[in-house]
């Protein structure tokens, strides 16, 4: 039962990733692609949690912590580049 629910969750997240990827590939302006990038990083955190659940290893969560804290740096760098901040 729980396994089936995890499968459904993975399928939904996967579809979300594909949609965000579509926006990344197509996005008219650079900023649109950055939004897609931001969304993708957060979806990746979810994916990592799901992988940790599926494999039953709690130590994988450390990777998710690093992601959650570092993912926003990339977005800020691009945003500062776009507005000529450095």
């Amino acid at each position: 039962m729980v396994d089936i629910l995890i499968y459904i969750a993975t399928a939904l997240t996967g579809t979300g990733i594909l949609l965000a990827l579509y926006r990344f590939l197509k996005g008219p302006s650079p900023a649109d692609r950055v939004v897609a990038f931001d969304t993708l990083t957060l979806m990746t955190v979810t994916l990592i949690v799901i992988i940790a659940l599926a494999e039953g290893r709690g130590i994988y969560l450390d990777v998710a912590v690093v992601y959650a804290l570092l993912s926003f740096l990339g977005v800020i760098a691009v945003a500062r580049y776009l507005e000529r901040g450095f």
Binding site: D62, V65, L69, I76, F86
Partner: protein, 231 residues
């Protein structure tokens, strides 16, 4: 056009080799001898829960020393290549930093650096270690640079951290010859209980020093890049 054609030809050759490799690849069913040795002996010999860390710091410790040296050389060369063309930065026109980013970075940067410390101190228990921790620390430094582009990082602090941790790293390695089995031997300190923070001999100490050194090297690369003049 001819250029593209030649490129495609080369790629076709490489692709043929890759396909051959892919179709003849047979995954091992058992660990090979080296891996089996590491898997069976690490817990008893080294006492580190993370076998990758045990390989990086102890079994292949000399490689890691070399790697850190390569990184040091890279940082030095980047500094050398970019050394000319410094300019005072007051005359650069930059978009102002928003208040939100300024506040947010001031309170997130210490947290990121502490996360880096956690990653390298726990290198022998959890995924991560000196290199990852160093990279995270450099990311924290980067956040400071992003939030305040005109700020000059103190090169003195970075250089001091770098050389002191490097010295201690080599010092511990040499102590291993005197007090334990050989160069970079981690049995300098007691092995401890598997899973404790203070365990695995000198591995946490060595990895912390590596982390500080790598973090300082990456930070110095970033600082050099951010201080170059705009063309």
């Amino acid at each position: 056009m001819i250029r593209k054609f030649a490129a495609l030809l080369i790629l076709a050759g490489i692709a043929a080799i890759f396909t051959g490799l892919l179709f003849t690849y047979e995954p091992d069913a058992e660990l090979n001898t080296t891996a089996r040795y590491y898997a069976e002996r690490t817990a008893a010999d080294i006492g580190a829960a993370n076998i990758v860390t045990a390989i990086v710091v102890t079994y292949r410790g000399l490689d890691t020393l070399g790697e850190v040296t390569v990184l040091f050389l890279t940082a030095a060369i980047v500094g050398l290549v970019l050394a000319r063309g410094r300019r005072r930065k007051e005359d650069r026109h930059l978009a102002p930093v928003g208040e939100l980013l300024a506040t947010g970075s001031r309170f997130l940067a210490p947290l990121i650096i502490l996360l880096g410390v956690y990653v390298f101190v726990n290198g022998h228990l959890t995924p991560g270690g000196g290199f990852q921790g160093g990279a995270i620390i450099a990311s924290g430094v980067l956040l400071i640079l992003l939030a305040d582009p005109c700020r000059c990082l103190s090169h003195r602090i970075i250089d001091t951290v770098e050389s002191v941790s490097g010295l201690f790293y080599v010092g511990i390695a040499l102590l291993g010859i005197v007090l334990a089995g050989g160069f970079l031997d981690s049995h300098l300190l007691p092995r401890g209980e598997l899973g404790d923070l203070f365990s695995a001999g000198a591995i946490p100490l060595i990895y912390s020093l590596i982390g500080l050194k790598v973090g300082a090297e990456f930070s110095s690369i970033l600082a050099h890049l951010s201080e170059t003049e705009e063309l």
